[in-house]
């Protein structure tokens, strides 16, 4: 009310010129909180572990170690932006890696292996969509089931053993150094950049956002809601499969039971990312910075000699704190709204 009235006066005179533009988004601090934390933790560990943490080698290791997780996290961000959950992507990744190793064992040609694995990812996405979009079941529950189902298939494919039969071409390719970093990292960044452009510069990115915000309104506004949701779920599974190929390549050996370790981090990173740019909006940049923040803290703690269990405790706590932080910011901005619009 107050706002409306103050504006009216200045508006009436400015029919042709620019209307007063006020940036009404939330204050800057919450938006840069996560990047600040990233820088702060980097500086902190540089002091706590002098000569160990802030070295070219260590920074390279941190970045290289996140290549597969990065693709996974970007993948998870896509359905999240459209309001859906895909918990199964970590399992898609492990299954894909297992398939790479198993097919390598059988001596299949490289191109066939990669195509078959990526097709598997798309197939899983289509199955997820059939239940989530077609039958309108809870994505959380469907992909939780899919996660366990795929873990079982991974065991079937590998016979339950760690396979070191990843084709050597894939191993070499992913580990080739380009500008000091393995190719896997660059591949991850390329996928992230593509999704970033889609989110920020294509109408598609806005459609997903609107859909995630209010699916009913999105449908009535003429968006092809079912196609968008299906597309998002298929994309995430596809990226899960890409991550699988990278995982197999970078590690050289595939443990079919390793999916659990990758389950949480992509979501933690994505939720940390919602506190950046626009509040409560999933975005690629936020996801990336969230991911590197997690990596820096965990690597730092490990260099300080902290026990292994700390990583899990930190990952779990970070997820809960990330959504709590986003919620607090949301409540705060709602309070501001109430203060400015009393009737």
């Amino acid at each position: 009310m107050a706002e409306t009235q103050t504006v009216t006066a200045s508006n009436e005179s400015s029919g042709s010129g620019d209307p007063p533009q006020k940036d009404v988004r939330e204050s800057v601090l919450p938006q840069i909180a996560i990047p600040l934390l990233l820088v702060a933790s980097f500086v902190l560990f540089s002091f706590l572990a002098p000569g160990l943490f802030f070295t070219g080698t260590n920074v390279r290791i941190i970045i290289a170690s996140q290549a597969t997780l990065l693709v996974l996290a970007v993948g998870a961000t896509i359905p999240l932006r459209a309001g859906d959950f895909d918990l199964s992507i970590a399992a898609v990744m492990v299954l894909s890696a297992s398939l790479v190793a198993a097919m390598g064992n059988m001596g299949w040609p490289l191109a066939v292996i990669v195509l078959a694995v990526l097709a598997t990812g798309v197939l899983v996405g289509l199955i997820n969509s059939f239940f989530i979009v077609g039958l309108e079941l809870s994505g959380f529950v469907v992909t939780l089931g899919m996660l366990t189902l795929l873990a079982g298939i991974s065991n079937l494919v590998t016979g339950g053993e760690t396979l070191a039969t990843v084709p050597v071409e894939i191993r070499d390719l992913t580990n080739t150094r380009v500008l000091g970093l393995p190719l896997a990292v660059w591949i991850g960044w390329v996928f992230a950049a593509v999704v970033l452009v889609v989110f920020q510069r294509l109408p598609l990115g806005r459609y997903l956002l609107f859909l995630g915000g209010n699916p009913t309104a999105a449908q009535l506004a003429g968006l092809r809601v079912k196609r968008l949701r299906t597309g998002a779920l298929v994309s995430s599974s596809f990226l899960g499969a890409v991550a699988g190929v990278l995982l197999a390549g970078t590690l050289g050996a595939v443990d079919p039971g390793s999916g659990g370790g990758y389950l949480l981090a992509p979501f933690t990173a994505a939720f940390l990312g919602t506190t950046m740019l626009h509040l409560r909006q999933f975005n690629v940049l936020g996801t990336l910075i969230g991911l590197y923040l997690l990596a820096v803290v965990i690597t730092g703690l490990q260099l300080l000699g902290v026990a292994v269990w700390v990583a899990d405790v930190f990952n779990g706590a970070a997820l809960v704190l990330a959504i709590a932080f986003a919620r607090v910011l949301e409540l705060r901005s709602q309070r501001n709204i109430r203060r400015t619009t009393t009737t």
Partner: protein, 507 residues
């Protein structure tokens, strides 16, 4: 005789915006007093001061039963209670249980309570006010008017426990009631007043206020326009006092559509809620569909827009039959402005710009990439053109008033250049100024050749906006009015003609 309530010079400001300005009201004992005004005129602020939610600005006074009171008012012990539209009843419990619960069943938390005594209390209350209610009946089995009655009795019991003084404020008690039920309720209110209870009745139904209250106070922009004897005023009179200008000036001239082939034709349209609807609308024509709540008319917009599947019948635009799909309807030029804008039209956490352009984002692309500057410039231009205030493209939707939100929804719909514009309760929760602007937009769209289907329960706007009106009862179109024969009263009467009980005992 001292008045029950004497309000003198009460003002209230929020953030230096004055929402109440020197309000005076006096209500004699045992009377029904009406309080009317547009949304945002200060009615609810006044009620909140009377019930102690707000403390008024310094300078005003309130007397209750001849005693000066301090602020915030301790409403309960002073004998004031409010009954909101949401009655706060537990549907699965009995009448006696609901009536006793706020009075702790006349006992303490850990003490046994006597249901026999509770039932006797209810019967005694009923006898006192000349009412009939079965204390053992479940609230869910009662008619809407009887439920309101339960809430009133509960309040009366609480008040007589506390102080013996009784001033009941009813906030829109008939808003959700069918016509005959509200008549019953009003008769009952009259009875209450005759037995000494004082009632302050807030209602948008001006005719009801005139029928039942003895005097009515009109608020506009936080000030009292005046208090009038209901025997000496009329609904038109009250509306003009509420608005501050004559109602004739409020609605645009509706023009005459040129005779031509129908743009929208609906033949035998059937769903689970509507049956065999047949009508057509020409370019430039505004056709309204109205009726009492729940008569099926609310199904029509989504059936035509294709977001709900029809079970039979044909919908065609310019002789092209539509499939039941939104995409097909949009391709044919059908655009919907949905009734519940928060649920069906807006992403409230998004900005004005994101909500405005979502239906035609690809217009702002160059080689598939969004051009933010172009999109922003368009949004800014549109917001100025539609007088959306404030015209901030990046302001979040939640921060706009209902009227400004609806202007944005309308701007989005009109930018699509609709051939058929389906408006579903387009002015619900919208202030008078925005309403006026929205009506003009509808008028302009019609003048530009759109066929307009207005589905609305607001008889006033239907009577003033339409070229033709179709009345629905129980899923069927039962009557059609031409422009010349349109009045609010006629629509009201036609809507409820077949309702089983009609009550004429109301004075």
């Amino acid at each position: 005789m001292t008045p029950v309530l004497g309000v003198r010079g009460i003002s209230k400001s929020f953030n230096s915006v004055r929402v109440l300005d020197g309000v005076d009201i006096e209500i004699p004992a045992g009377s029904i007093h009406g309080l009317v005004g547009e949304n945002g005129s200060g009615k609810s602020t006044l009620v909140k001061i009377l019930t102690g939610v707000y403390t008024p600005d310094d300078g005003g006074t309130v007397d209750l039963w001849g005693q000066r009171v301090t602020f915030p008012i301790d409403a309960g012990s002073r004998g004031i209670t409010v009954i909101h539209q949401d009655l706060g009843l537990a549907d699965d419990l009995t009448v006696a249980e609901n009536i006793g619960i706020t009075s702790s069943f006349g006992t303490r938390l850990w003490w046994p309570l006597s249901w026999r005594r509770e039932r006797a209390v209810v019967l005694e209350l009923c006898a006192k006010y000349g009412l009939r209610l079965d204390p053992r009946a479940r609230v869910s089995s009662l008619t809407p008017a009887e439920r309101t009655l339960v809430a009133v009795l509960r309040a009366l019991r609480k008040l007589s426990d506390d102080s013996g003084n009784q001033l009941i404020i009813l906030d829109e008690p008939t808003a959700a009631l069918p016509h005959d039920e509200s008549r019953r309720l009003l008769t009952i209110l009259r009875g209450l007043a005759d037995s000494g209870v004082t009632v302050l009745l807030i209602s948008h139904h001006l005719q009801e206020v005139i029928d039942v209250a003895s005097r009515v106070t009109v608020l506009r922009n936080g000030s009292v326009v005046g208090t009038y004897e209901t025997s000496e005023t009329s609904t038109t009179d009250l509306v003009e006092k509420m608005l501050g200008y004559s109602i004739g000036a409020f609605y645009p001239d509706r023009g005459t559509p040129e005779a031509s082939a129908p743009r929208l034709s609906v033949r035998g349209l059937t769903s689970d809620l509507v049956h065999d609807l047949t009508f057509s609308i020409s370019p430039g024509e505004v056709v309204s569909v109205t009726g009492l709540a729940g008569m099926g008319q609310d199904d029509l917009p989504q059936l035509i827009y294709g977001s709900k599947k029809k079970t039979a019948g044909l919908v065609s635009v310019d002789d092209r039959d539509l499939r039941s799909s939104i995409a097909d309807a949009m391709r044919a030029g059908v655009v919907l402005v949905p009734a519940n804008r928060h649920r069906d039209a807006l992403w409230t956490a998004g900005t004005a710009q994101e909500n405005l352009t979502i239906s035609f984002l690809s217009q702002f692309t160059h080689s598939r990439l969004l051009q933010p500057k172009r999109e922003r410039a368009f949004t800014r231009r549109t917001m100025l053109e539609y007088d959306v205030r404030p015209p901030f493209t990046r302001q979040l939707m939640t921060r706009f008033s209902g009227g400004n939100q609806q202007k944005l929804v309308m701007a989005r719909a009109l930018h699509l250049g609709p051939k058929v514009l389906v408006l579903h309760e387009p002015t619900q929760g919208v202030d008078a100024g925005a309403k006026k602007a929205l009506f003009q937009l509808v008028r302009d769209a019609a003048a530009a050749g759109a066929a307009i289907l207005l589905v609305s329960s607001d008889f006033e706007e239907v009577a003033h906006m339409s070229h033709r009106v179709l009345i629905m009862r129980h899923g069927r179109i039962v009557e059609e009015f031409q422009q010349a024969e349109l009045t609010e009263d006629r629509l009201l009467v036609a809507s409820q003609q077949d309702t089983p009980r009609t009550q004429k005992e109301l004075v």
